[in-house]
């Protein structure tokens, strides 16, 4: 599927990514119009994560909205940049030694599908925050949206990998790499929601806060038992 000549963004391709992931995945493997797919996927990734970031930052409001909107695309793209060589190597070792273009385009369209789902989750998340959701609930809702987006991206990736030996091991390995790298990059660029009880906005925080998983677990505890003593100011 070629982009419309002269167009910057191919909406039809985005529709295909959502409706027919297997076809798009096959196009990626066959290196069919990979450059156009990569370009459109990158645009989708930036736009989707930017708007989702803005919704997340709206919990604190003000400058935090813009900070979060700027940081989430960086997190997404940085994760993809770091994971790209690993995906290439893992696919090659598990009997799929495709070209770099094929692997990258498959990864990018998976990222585009991820971002499109985030884009779909943006209005509900914004509404939830606008209705006064707590910090922990907002954090968990955003994490849930991330989880859904991840599943959507995974379905496209799984179709793209095709049947063959080592498929499950490869998928598990790719998921682990993506989760580890994504967690670290997002942790490095926090905060996104802001810090409850703190009025001023900071671009990055350097406090030792125990790690991403620890913070998510604390949020679950606070949502389940709001009376539980917290460790925030």
């Amino acid at each position: 599927m070629k982009s419309f000549e002269g167009s910057v963004f191919d909406v039809t391709l985005m529709s295909r990514i959502l409706r027919a992931p297997a076809d798009v995945a096959a196009d990626c493997r066959d290196d069919r119009d990979a450059s156009a797919m990569a370009r459109n996927a990158l645009i989708a990734i930036v736009v989707g994560s930017l708007l989702f970031g803005a919704a997340v930052g709206s919990w604190h409001g003000g400058a935090q909205t813009f900070f979060a909107a700027g940081k989430l695309p960086i997190v997404m793209l940085a994760t993809l940049v770091v994971c790209a060589p690993a995906f290439y190597a893992v696919s090659a070792v598990f009997h799929r030694p495709w070209s770099a273009r094929s692997v990258l385009s498959l990864m990018l369209v998976s990222g585009a599908r991820f971002s499109l789902v985030l884009l779909a989750a943006t209005p509900p998340l914004w509404l939830l925050i606008n209705l006064g959701a707590s910090y922990d609930l907002s954090k968990l809702a955003a994490s849930f949206a991330y989880g859904l987006a991840g599943l959507a991206a995974l379905t496209l990736l799984v179709r793209g990998l095709g049947d063959g030996p080592g498929k499950r091991s490869m998928i598990a390995l790719m998921m682990a790499i993506f989760l580890l790298v994504g967690a670290q990059t997002s942790w490095m660029l926090r905060p996104y929601l802001g810090t409850p009880g703190v009025q001023h906005v900071v671009l990055f925080t350097r406090e030792r806060e125990g790690g991403l998983v620890y913070q998510l677990w604390k949020s679950v505890e606070h949502v389940v038992d709001p009376a539980r003593p917290g460790d925030r100011p």
Partner: protein, 231 residues
């Protein structure tokens, strides 16, 4: 389509006398054999394909190239680990990671060749060398791919334990993939061996794997102070 698990002979060198494949792309999920057009050299789908696929004909040069490339890629991972300290440590850690794989290829594999000869295994020196270079190539490719992620962790994580876990987990993964490749490449020739030989191999192969793992771990423990906390 899925099938119940069954023993599958290893994919080794393609059948020498087969009719050259027509000029066509290989099926997406498995590029399989290198494309070969009549009268031309073998062509490969990608860099990784050329690194991991064995050529139809025996070629020591190709195997040496695979071995060297695998070690080079592994060195990238070592260099990434050395970024935590910087300076000379980048080079020393690069050499250190490559040294672990070199030790297995240069020490463990020749020793295993003697064992194979003792048990009368129908494995030629070239076949063993090909399996070794294939294993190093796969391990090196995985380590090279994980180098950026390793660099991210060693530079941004303050906790030394996390860095050690990430580093050793990556090395263990690469080692497991290398060993799996080695065993798979030798499976087909061993299937044609006598019953006694195959019995001996049920002991010799795991022993070799254990020895190679301990040897590599020992070399890495000594050569990678970033992961062990030594200075």
């Amino acid at each position: 389509m899925t099938a119940e698990p069954m023993t599958m002979p290893a994919l080794s060198a393609p059948f020498p006398g087969a009719v050259p494949e027509p000029v066509d792309e290989t099926p997406p999920a498995n590029p399989g054999r290198p494309r070969e057009e009549q009268g031309q050299e073998e062509t490969f789908e990608s860099f990784a394909h050329g690194l991991l696929e064995a050529t139809r004909a025996e070629s020591w040069v190709h195997e040496a190239r695979r071995l060297g490339t695998g070690l080079g890629l592994a060195a990238l991972f070592g260099g990434a680990l050395g970024l935590r300290v910087g300076g000379v440590a980048i080079g020393s850690h690069a050499l250190g990671v490559a040294a672990g794989l070199t030790a297995v290829a240069a020490v463990a594999s020749p020793a295993f060749a003697i064992v194979l000869a003792l048990v009368n295994a129908p494995i030629s020196g070239f076949t063993l060398a090909r399996a070794t270079s294939g294993a190093v190539a796969r391990a090196g490719l995985i380590l090279g791919g994980l180098a950026p992620a390793a660099a991210l962790y060693v530079v941004t994580v303050e906790d030394a334990i996390t860095v050690s876990v990430v580093g050793f987990a990556s090395l263990a993964l690469a080692g497991a993939i290398g060993v799996s490749s080695f065993a798979t490449d030798l499976r087909t020739p061993l299937a044609a061996a006598s019953r006694d030989t195959r019995r001996w191999m049920t002991v010799a192969m795991p022993a070799f794997v254990l020895f190679a793992a301990v040897l590599a771990l020992r070399v890495w423990w000594l050569a990678l102070p970033v992961l062990t906390g030594a200075r």
